[in-house]
């Protein structure tokens, strides 16, 4: 009797989404109201581009860029799994077009902003393409520093954090030191380390290392310390060796906390990298911006800032994806 009731109840939720779908009033497929804002602003942007502006001719790069954004948005729209996702693709495109339109009008058409400090979008895009080889070279030298410093910090702090977190006595003995050392803002080390170490390269790697080490270490120790006791017991009744316990139970159980620490550390690393490059590098993306601002070449400064933004977004997206993959077992 009661089992048939439960079965009948179990069938009910399956029918609900279908009943809810039409209730939202948003049928599947591209609805004209979804794309209206983006389409209207794009039309405005294209119109503004075709309108003879100030000094330049037809802004080919801007139009190509706008069309490219539209193509990417359409592709993402097709891949989107829900109405909400589709709507947000359209909204993001609309906002991006609005920014481009405002930028174009303010610079190329009404000359409301100082052209020396604020290049119009067409000029910026053109310069971006022209500077891309140099920017990529700078990115390469920046990434070498970033990967060395962050990688060394990860490689050292993760096993150390696992070990310290697992041994309670050591954990208590070390925690006052981590509390003090971990809270010193790593930026203050930069001038000192630049003097202590022989080369800029080694100094910036060490600074990034220090900045990345503590967040990973502290979060690993905390993650290990907070592993549910039941999971440890489940490992103990399987008679796991300490090594297997740490690698196959404690490490995965602490991984959410470790990921939090690692993404914090990556953010710090980027900050310290660009800060160090501004102080004493002869290459790198932070150096690029700093160097051209010394020459008052603000068009290249703007291009450099946009490039750094793109790099940071790309790295963030990649790490988020990696984190989702590593923690896919969490419901």
């Amino acid at each position: 009797m009661s089992s048939t009731q439960i079965r009948a109840g179990g069938a009910h939720p399956g029918t609900r989404p279908a009943a809810l779908g039409p209730g939202r009033g948003a049928p599947a497929g591209l609805h004209w109201s979804q794309t209206l804002p983006a389409g209207a602003i794009l039309a405005g942007l294209l119109l503004a581009s075709a309108w003879p502006g100030s000094e330049e001719g037809f802004p080919l790069y801007l139009v190509l860029f706008a069309v490219g954004v539209g193509v990417v948005a359409l592709a993402r729209w097709r891949l989107a799994g829900s109405d909400v996702a589709r709507q947000s693709v359209c909204d993001v495109a609309a906002i991006l077009y609005a920014i481009l339109l405002a930028w174009q009008l303010a610079t190329a058409h009404f000359a409301a902003l100082d052209p020396m400090l604020f290049p119009p979008p067409e000029l910026t895009l053109r310069l971006f393409v022209k500077e891309l080889p140099d920017l990529l070279y700078c990115l390469r030298s920046s990434l070498i520093l970033l990967v060395s410093g962050f990688g060394a910090a990860l490689a050292l702090s993760l096993p150390l954090g696992l070990y310290v977190g697992w041994h309670t006595r050591l954990h208590h003995a070390v925690s006052p030191f981590t509390k003090i050392l971990g809270t010193i803002p790593p930026v203050v080390f930069i001038p000192y380390i630049v003097h202590v170490l022989p080369s800029f390269k080694s100094a910036s790697i060490v600074v990034i290392f220090i900045g990345a080490f503590w967040p990973i270490f502290i979060n690993t120790v905390a993650g290990v310390f907070n592993v549910p006791k039941g999971l440890i017991d489940s490992g103990r009744v399987l008679n796991l060796s300490t090594r297997k316990m740490l690698l196959r139970v404690v490490l995965p159980a602490a991984l959410p906390s470790i990921c939090t620490g690692a993404s914090l550390a990556l953010g710090f690393s980027f900050l310290l990298l660009t800060a160090a490059e501004v102080i004493g590098a002869n290459s790198g993306i932070g150096w690029y911006v700093h160097y051209f601002s010394d020459f008052a070449d603000y068009h290249r400064v703007v291009v450099g800032i946009i490039f750094i933004g793109i790099v940071v977004v790309a790295i963030t997206l990649a790490t988020e994806r990696l984190e989702r993959h590593l923690l896919r077992w969490r419901s």
């Binding site: 009661s2 017991d233 009744v237 008679n239």
Partner: protein, 265 residues
Amino acid sequence: MTKCVEIENLSFAYRGNLVLRGVNITAEGGDFVCLLGPSGCGKSTLLRLIAGLERPDAGSILIGGAAVSGPGLDRGVVFQDYSLFPWLTAGENLVFALEQAFPDRRRRDHVEDARAQLGRVHLEGAFDKLPSQLSGGMRQRVAIARAFATDPPLLLMDEPFGALDAVTRAHLQEHLLALWQTPSGAAKTVFFVTHDVDEAILLASTVVVLGANPGRIRGVFDIDVARPRSRQSIQSSPRYLALRAAMVDLLYERSDDAGDAGTPQ
């Protein structure tokens, strides 16, 4: 019959509080012992002591004649939760345990074995499912399958069905009994912690009733109701009703005015 588990004069204190005092239990091979008691009576602690997860302050636990010195693969343990590692699929959880128990076998055999064991609890299709994708009842079935997979002579279960709804719980009790009464006849010894009188009588060959403050044995009952038992059939039997009444009396009796009743039989 061989003495599988011998617990002698066992006492255990936690932070100065006596949790268990003078516990004596003897179980023979193939016994199904239910540890029944109110919360705080130390029944889970007793199970953890047998599992080797805690050390007694006095007394001894012998398993197959050897003193318990720590956790071991001769005892399969199922907890109420956290039995499965949530980052491993159901199948990988079994393979992990099998690798521990039989390190010289090949991985392919482990995978095959894990599949077969999941089949025994009717979860063939769950091999590649993560615990978070399974219902609570399915998770406990996987945990039970894992405990049986390594084929230990002794199974320790700490309220394994405590978090499940009544219907799922009834199904899992049947599953467990079916697994325990293996056709080969090599029935395992089981220690099963519960606070549910009906569950204890349905499953057990012996019910040990514990009382609280400090945890001690209040009574031991042999459940001489014929097997196979079913929830429906035993509930009308007068023997069941008498046993149930006696146990409920013991459970609800105030432990402070009961004094040291010893272990009536």
